[in-house]
């Protein structure tokens, strides 16, 4: 199953909760599939200065959310857009095959949040 790093992150996830002053929110998945991931971003000058998540999902989904938010804090929006699910899996030190989709959700949630930001600002 899960490696020690995934377990450790699941045990003590970072960046949990709402971000009161978020200016971008992305939500992916639905409860009937057993996974919802919600990412809140605070973006200043095209840089992600803070990121938080809320996740309804398994240990892998929670660990992926935690690590993904950590990975994008400090990055520019464009850099964050290049984050792929494989990067999340690599950073977690691997995921069981049937849990890879959790990393995809993390990638998609971030992209959805950035899309939300771009729409609000350019749209």
């Amino acid at each position: 199953m899960y490696n020690d790093k995934v377990i450790e992150i699941f045990k003590n996830p970072k960046n949990i909760g709402d971000l009161k002053d978020a200016n971008a929110i992305g939500t992916i998945g639905n409860a009937s599939c057993g996974d919802i991931m919600q990412v809140f971003l605070k973006i200043e000058n095209n840089v992600i200065v803070d990121a938080k998540f809320k996740t309804f999902g398994c240990a892998a989904a929670i660990a992926a959310s935690s690590i993904a938010t950590e990975m994008i804090i400090g990055k520019t929006v464009d850099e964050a857009l290049t984050l792929k699910n494989a990067d999340v899996v690599a950073e977690l030190g691997g995921l069981p095959a049937q849990k890879i989709h959790c990393s995809v959700l993390a990638e998609e949630a971030i992209q959805a949040a950035i899309k939300d930001y771009k729409e609000k600002n350019n749209g």
Binding site: C33, I36, M37, T55, F56
Partner: protein, 393 residues
């Protein structure tokens, strides 16, 4: 602290059972089909085990067939009945809440043009046997209804279902794998034609089960070969496992009442406490008509596997959905069949108590559980932590 609350997935081997098995591994190791003294010694042990098991369910020894477990017994009962039937069209009645050993066997038989009717349970997980009369067709060869459900523990009205089937000359099979440990089962009184069991669910060894087949019921073979098990189930007789199964069932029957009472009390206290002290929790399955050791709860807004993993980190073993379905992305077919919404079905945890469960353990479990639910809801997008209410984003 390590606390095992997954006794419906499997149980530890009772040390007395292991003791009974040990001589048959290295010492009395003969092939029970051999006619020399080693063989006769093994054969005697197998005969005694068969008698013990028969007596436990009020059957005859010649009605007890050893298999590799509950799954093989279930496969054999259904496929064996189909293979031997001379009907051009064949029809089987079963339920939506069966174990995959039945449901996937039915799916396989459907590919072979057997028609299957799946009865649906009430929203409390009960099958209504009265519905059977409307389901029989001239092609119905078999009805298979589980004795007790492995996820929600509901006990089905087997006696009435068997009676209705008998009146229509339809064979009646029951998967009693989950029921054996706690329920008194008298196959004669219940009027059952076939019954599946699996030793590792009652503190016996894994890899051994029984199919009870009432004298006179015709059954095709699933596994061909040597003449073991009166020619119906081939393969070298696994004497140590058989001896262990008999010993385990004997002990289970002997201690049944005492264990049931103790476990039932712990179970009820736990359910009451959870339902009263943790909000948005729902008990799945009829509260009274269930196995004494079964607790099945849905914790709204949080996902089952993450609850399971949190409890595991605290040394507590439970199950989300059934063990076999683990790793699957689908919510339990049993919980869904109760009419529970998919998102809530994903939030389900089974606690199954056992002979080693103590009051202290259950107190600890409750405390860890309460904190776990709290923590996970705090990070759930479906729950507004400030307001303490659910909301779908």
């Amino acid at each position: 602290m390590k606390i095992y609350l997954d006794n419906s997935a499997t149980t530890p081997l009772n040390p007395h059972v292991l003791e009974a098995m040990l001589p048959f591994f290295t010492d009395k190791f003969g092939n029970a089909s051999s006619i020399h003294s080693y063989g006769r010694e093994a054969n005697r042990a197998v005969s005694e085990a068969r008698e013990i098991i028969a007596e436990c369910i009020n059957a005859r020894p010649s009605e007890i067939y050893f298999t590799s477990g509950g799954t093989e017994s279930d496969n054999w009962a259904l496929k064996g009945a189909v293979y031997v039937s001379k009907n051009k069209y064949k029809h089987i009645i079963t339920t939506q809440i069966e174990h995959p050993a039945i449901l996937n066997t039915c799916a396989e038989l459907e590919k072979q043009n057997v028609e299957i009717t799946y009865m649906n349970p009430s929203n409390e997980g009960m099958i209504n046997p009265k519905e059977l009369s409307n389901l029989f067709t001239e092609n119905t060869i078999l009805t298979s209804i589980m004795f007790a459900n492995n996820e929600i523990g509901t006990l089905q009205p087997i006696k009435e279902a068997a009676r209705i089937c008998r009146e229509q000359s339809v064979l009646f099979h029951t998967d009693a794998v989950q029921a054996m440990d706690s329920q008194k089962i008298d196959v004669k009184e219940l009027g059952i034609d076939m019954l599946s069991m699996s030793a590792h669910k009652f503190y016996g060894p894994k890899g051994i089960g029984v199919l009870f087949v009432k004298t006179g019921s015709r059954l095709g073979k699933l596994i061909n070969g040597g003449e073991q098990e009166r020619g119906l189930r081939a393969g070298t007789t696994p004497t140590p496992l058989i001896v262990g199964m008999a010993k385990a069932l004997e002990i289970s029957v002997r201690d049944r009442e005492k264990n049931n009472q103790r476990i039932l009390r712990l179970r009820n206290i736990f359910i009451d406490r959870v339902l009263s002290e943790i909000p948005y929790v729902y008990l799945n399955g009829n509260r009274e008509n269930r196995l004494p050791n079964n607790v099945n709860l849905s914790f709204a807004f949080i996902e089952g596997e993450s609850v399971l993993m949190r409890l595991d980190l605290a040394g507590i073993a439970v199950s989300s959905g059934s063990a076999c379905a683990s790793g699957s992305l689908e919510a339990s077919h049993v919980i869904l069949s109760l009419g529970v919404k998919e998102e809530l079905a994903h939030s389900t945890i089974r606690f199954s108590l056992g002979v080693d469960t103590t009051e202290q353990q259950m107190d600890y479990v409750f405390n860890v559980l309460k904190k776990t639910v709290d923590d996970l809801r705090r990070m759930s997008p479906l729950y507004d932590y400030e307001k303490g209410i659910g909301s779908y984003v």
